[in-house]
């Protein structure tokens, strides 16, 4: 190793504590990105294996566009020359006694064994084990089921056990392994028809098709045919916006990481500037000095990246659970398992660490290349010209902000352009850090001087004098705090918008079941209709569809009831929008309108049981139920088009002022309970939705915490550097009679001062960031409008975070001060 490189690398050993802080900063930045990427990837991989597990050898599925398919059609499907094998399926949910829902598949074991190894194995194993009795029980006993090992374990069941569900008792005849992780119960299809009261119907038929085009040609009208590839694409598309958000979060974490590296590199340059001057004076070339610095930065990048790779892998174990829960709550059951450890985690971490280090260190590297030995040897430091430089940097910040505005203007082309704009905005805002410090110092000096005396005044002066270092630390901390305020305000605004939406659209007194729960028997609806005192019953049915190749859904409601009792939020017009719905038209949600560019007055064509149907769009309404878009129509229209009488849930409305309100609700509850139907009052239903909402942002909250940890290392590193760099200054303080306590107070004041500037900046930057997230990113990702609502909570939480992080960050430097200050002397080297 040559002397130039050695002279730089020795700093890493000489300033161990600082090196450790820098290393951890990089490691946590990389860990956030690696952890989130791995969690996202394991979710997708688990999705693939779950789909593969249930798909077996089938190639296609055929079903009605909405609702179940008539059993009588199966003979025709079976007789189709392109169908090699087929297996009818009933795919529903059963509600266990404890309230937990489990997917229940009704299959024909004789037909199913040709297309799915799962049922074939069950059939084979029972026979091989001469459990003829169990197999015949499965075929002939109405309550006999096969359950997967997860359900068996959680309910403590074994073959022969019986367990209760809301729809009736079931008896276990066999337990099978289930790699998908999704709790699964399998029942004979004939018994399933009885169990779910759908005699004469199945949900779909899984097929092995030999000639797809010919088959599609023959079944084009009134059926939905989906290949396995399409199915995987549909599921993947369902997760599109969610994945995008995960990616964005990991990118933001990496962004903070890069900032921290920039921070780190900047500190390194400050301390290497003098050495670079000496080296240049004694004959080293600029290339040698740059290379030495690059080696130092890369070494930190490699070590921090490797550590980050390992930490990221460990973090993914935690994140994967949160991601799995969120996907299961919002989209479909998914239990992602942590991916096995791979060398690539380490390699990826090192790559990210190095790439981020190079990007982060680039400005510092360029600065080092420009070092003038004469200036350095004359004792000049960069901060002497810092005021002017900070103004120039702020001007380049303005350029970044202008670029951000341009990108926002173009974000309608692609959401990634919106993300680029958000990054440009954060970068631009960060470039104002030094300028803001200069502006705030006079006020802060007065404030800290009054609060902490001379120590406080000197501390703020130090922040101003060491602008080169402090401005970068403030920028890094400010960015994380802004992200915290921005994400917090966005979530709160979203929550407020959701509350408004629930209070305007979900105004029923009681809701019987939900779309994610068991279906409501039509007889129950008829029974309630006959009850006196009920003002109206909204019959809700929601079916997923594919519209123009993308997932969406159709919802049927009772337009007259909703017109009377609900207060829908319309993009245009008022409750008169219900009139065309009552006459066979449709309304669409805002996300549908934006995704498919469908506006009020347009016509849309949807596939129905009797072929394509043309519907007029009467209005567009605000909706947060699905980002994929909803076509809403009256139940009468829906029945005419699809013939599907399934009811997902009922909304019970009672006229205001009805004195028997409580009694009526109790009556409905009683009758629902008798049928094993779940129900929830409006308040309970709203609370459930809010709980789901809060769970959805669990990942975001985790990333916010991680970003703050990363920033904490930034502030701690900055303070430590200030301490290490100013040994001579501390010697002077000591000579002047400053006590250890004075200098300790000074250190605390510096940390709080950095925190205060960062926080003040973040209140402005964070608020703008929230507006960007709401008006650009969310609108592009989810196609729905969130209304900005000011709430104090994100600001208070961030203020508390700032205080905690600032105090925690100065703990180590403070300890160093207490330990070293009493023996410090004025010396040159």
């Amino acid at each position: 190793m040559n002397g130039v490189i050695r002279s730089f690398l020795r700093y890493l050993v000489r300033r161990k504590s600082l090196s450790v802080l820098q290393l951890l900063g990089i490691a946590f930045g990389v860990a956030a990105a690696v952890g989130m990427t791995l969690a996202s990837r394991s979710a997708l991989q688990s999705l693939g294996s779950a789909v593969d597990f249930l798909r077996g050898g089938t190639t296609h599925t055929i079903a009605r566009p909405a609702g179940p398919m008539e059993e009588g059609l199966l003979a025709r499907v079976m007789g189709d020359p392109a169908v090699k094998y087929f297996a009818p399926v009933i795919d529903r949910k059963v509600r266990l006694e404890g309230g937990e829902q489990v997917r229940m598949l009704g299959v024909d074991p004789f037909l199913d064994k040709d297309v799915r190894t799962l049922t074939a194995r069950i059939a084979a194993s029972t026979r091989n084990n001469t459990q003829e009795e169990a197999f015949s029980s499965f075929l002939f006993d109405p309550g006999a089921v096969l359950i997967d090992e997860n359900v068996a374990r959680s309910l403590n069941l074994s073959p022969g056990s019986t367990f209760n569900t809301m729809q009736g008792p079931l008896r276990v005849v066999h337990i099978f392994p289930n790699p998908s992780g999704e709790p699964l119960i399998i029942i004979d299809i004939g018994h399933a028809q009885e169990f779910f009261r759908m005699r004469g119907y199945v949900d779909r038929a899984d097929l092995v098709v030999t000639d797809e085009d010919a088959f599609r040609g023959r079944w084009a009208t009134g059926f939905t045919i989906e290949s396995n590839t399409q199915k995987a694409q549909t599921l993947s598309a369902l997760l599109g916006a969610f994945r995008l958000n995960l990616q964005a979060l990991s990118l933001f974490a990496l962004f903070v990481g890069v900032f921290l590296i920039y921070n780190t590199a900047m500190f390194a340059v400050v301390s290497r500037r003098r050495d670079a001057g000496i080296l240049l004076a004694i004959g080293a070339s600029r290339g040698q000095v740059t290379a030495a610095f690059l080696v130092e930065v890369l070494l930190l990048g490699v070590a921090g990246g490797a550590l980050g790779g390992v930490l990221g892998y460990l973090l993914s174990g935690f994140l994967v659970k949160i991601v799995g829960n969120t996907i299961s709550t919002l989209y479909f059951f998914l239990k992602p398992s942590v991916l096995p450890w791979s060398f690539w985690n380490l390699a990826g971490g090192v790559f990210l660490g190095c790439a981020a280090s190079i990007v982060g260190a680039l400005p510092s590297l360029l600065e080092l290349r420009r070092v003038q030995p004469v200036e350095v040897l004359r004792g000049r430091i960069a901060s002497r010209g810092a005021s002017r430089r900070m103004k120039t940097i702020a001007l380049s910040g303005l350029v970044c902000l202008a670029a951000a505005l341009t990108l926002f203007g173009l974000s309608f082309l692609n959401v990634y352009i919106g993300f680029a704009g958000a990054f440009a905005f954060l970068l631009g805002a960060s470039l104002f850090a030094g300028f803001v410090i200069i502006l705030l110092v006079p006020v802060m000096k007065r404030l800290f001087s009054r609060a902490m005396g001379l120590a406080g005044k000197i501390a703020i002066g130090n922040i101003r004098e060491n602008l080169g270092r402090t401005s970068v630390a403030v920028a890094a901390f400010m960015i994380t705090l802004s992200m915290s305020i921005g994400l917090g305000s966005m979530i709160d605004s979203f929550r407020q918008s959701l509350l408004w939406w629930m209070n305007s659209q979900l105004r029923g007194e009681l809701y019987v079941s939900t779309k994610a729960d068991v279906n409501v028997p039509e007889e129950f609806y008829e029974e309630l209709k006959r009850m006196s005192g009920i003002g109206g019953i909204d019959v809700f049915r929601n079916v997923p569809i594919t519209f123009r190749g993308k997932p969406a859904s159709i919802t049927s409601i009772d337009a007259s009831v909703l017109q009377r009792y609900d207060r829908f939020g319309w993009l245009e017009g008022g409750d008169e929008n219900w009139e065309p719905v009552k006459q066979g038209g449709a309304i669409v949600s805002e996300s549908f309108s934006r995704r498919f560019n469908v506006k009020r007055g347009d016509r849309i064509t949807i596939e129905t049981a009797s072929g394509p149907a043309d519907l007029s769009v009467g209005a567009v309404f605000y909706d947060y139920a699905s980002e994929h878009g909803v076509i809403m129509m009256d139940r009468s229209t829906y029945l005419k088009l699809f013939g599907d009488r399934t009811i997902n849930s009922l909304g019970i409305f009672i006229d205001e002022g009805n004195p028997d309100r409580a009694k009526i609700i109790d009556q409905v509850k009683l009758r629902a309970r008798a049928l094993g139907l779940p129900f929830a009052t409006r308040e309970e239903f709203h609370k459930r939705i809010l709980d789901i909402f809060d769970n959805t942002f669990a990942v975001t909250r985790s990333m916010r915490v991680l970003a703050i940890i990363v920033a904490f290392f930034g502030i701690a590193g900055a303070l430590m550097t200030l301490f290490v760099e100013r040994q001579k200054e501390f010697g002077i303080y000591r000579a002047l009679g400053f006590s250890t306590g004075d200098v300790a107070r000074m250190t605390i004041a510096e940390s709080l001062g950095l925190g205060l500037v960062s926080f003040l900046m973040s209140t402005v930057v964070g608020t703008v960031f929230a507006v960007i997230l709401i008006k650009v990113i969310n609108l592009q990702s989810f196609n729905w409008t969130i209304f900005y609502h000011f709430t104090a909570r994100p600001y208070l939480v961030t203020a508390l975070t700032t205080l905690t992080a600032s105090l925690a960050a100065c703990a180590y430097p403070l300890w160093s001060v207490i330990r070293k200050y009493p023996v410090m002397q004025i010396r040159e080297e």
Partner: protein, 231 residues
């Protein structure tokens, strides 16, 4: 008189960010021959260090020309000036300017490395010649001021450069140590036949000098003795 090794022609230097018009040098014409020991006096801000920096090629003149060993610094370019510092110039600073992360030996060895001859033996010999045998493995902060300056002298001399530029080499040392260091520096330069240009405030430097120069307000004057050169 021997051949000239340093020549400056109508040298001007203006600093943009300095007050008083920022003119640090005002038309310096100077010729220094090989092996001369020069003492350069002058008050603070008179332009002594600026002249040294220009001669070393660390900074460029606003106007004028500098020739080192017959080579025009402006023509050499950045790369050429770097090579010049490696091979033909040795620097001794007031504040020693040793690299704090390298040991005494490594600091000296670095000079050889840059000159393309990384050999420990001459580095050890150079340290022995300045009286630092046994302290090769010490870091700068483990050495006294005088010892640090000896390391700096060893670092400047080890590659046997024809020119040594010393910017107040005793300015940061007590008088006894300062005299020792000055004595050592001049002796080694004379032994090696090197040209030594010393910027100084210490009048005893005159005793060692072949030629005395004084700078005032960016101009240079030849002096025959130290009389009248108030520190």
């Amino acid at each position: 008189m021997g051949p000239s090794i340093i020549r400056t022609y109508d040298l001007w230097k203006q600093y943009e960010d300095e007050g008083r018009g920022g003119m640090a040098l005002r038309g310096i014409d100077l010729e220094i021959t090989k092996g001369q020991i020069i003492a350069l006096f002058g008050k603070s801000g008179s332009g002594k260090t600026t002249l040294l920096n220009l001669i070393a090629g660390l900074d460029g003149p606003t106007k004028g020309r500098i020739e080192i060993d017959g080579e025009d610094l402006a023509v050499l370019g950045e790369r050429g000036r770097t090579l010049l510092r490696r091979k033909k110039l040795g620097f001794v600073f007031q504040f020693f300017n040793l690299l704090p992360t390298l040991t005494a030996l490594e600091n000296v060895l670095l000079s050889l490395e840059l000159a393309g001859a990384a050999d420990r033996r001459p580095a050890l010999e150079a340290l022995a010649l300045v009286g630092l045998s046994g302290k090769e493995g010490r870091f700068p902060h483990e050495l006294s001021g005088g010892e640090q300056q000896r390391v700096a002298i060893a670092r400047a001399l080890v590659k046997s450069p024809p020119i040594i530029l010393a910017d107040e080499p005793t300015g940061n040392l007590d008088s006894v140590t300062g005299t020792q260091v000055l004595d050592l520096l001049v002796r080694r330069c004379r032994e090696a036949g090197a040209t030594l240009m010393m910027v100084s405030h210490a009048l005893n430097t005159c005793e060692y000098a072949d030629r005395i120069l004084r700078m005032s307000d960016g101009r240079i004057f030849e002096e025959s003795s130290c009389e009248g050169l108030a520190p």
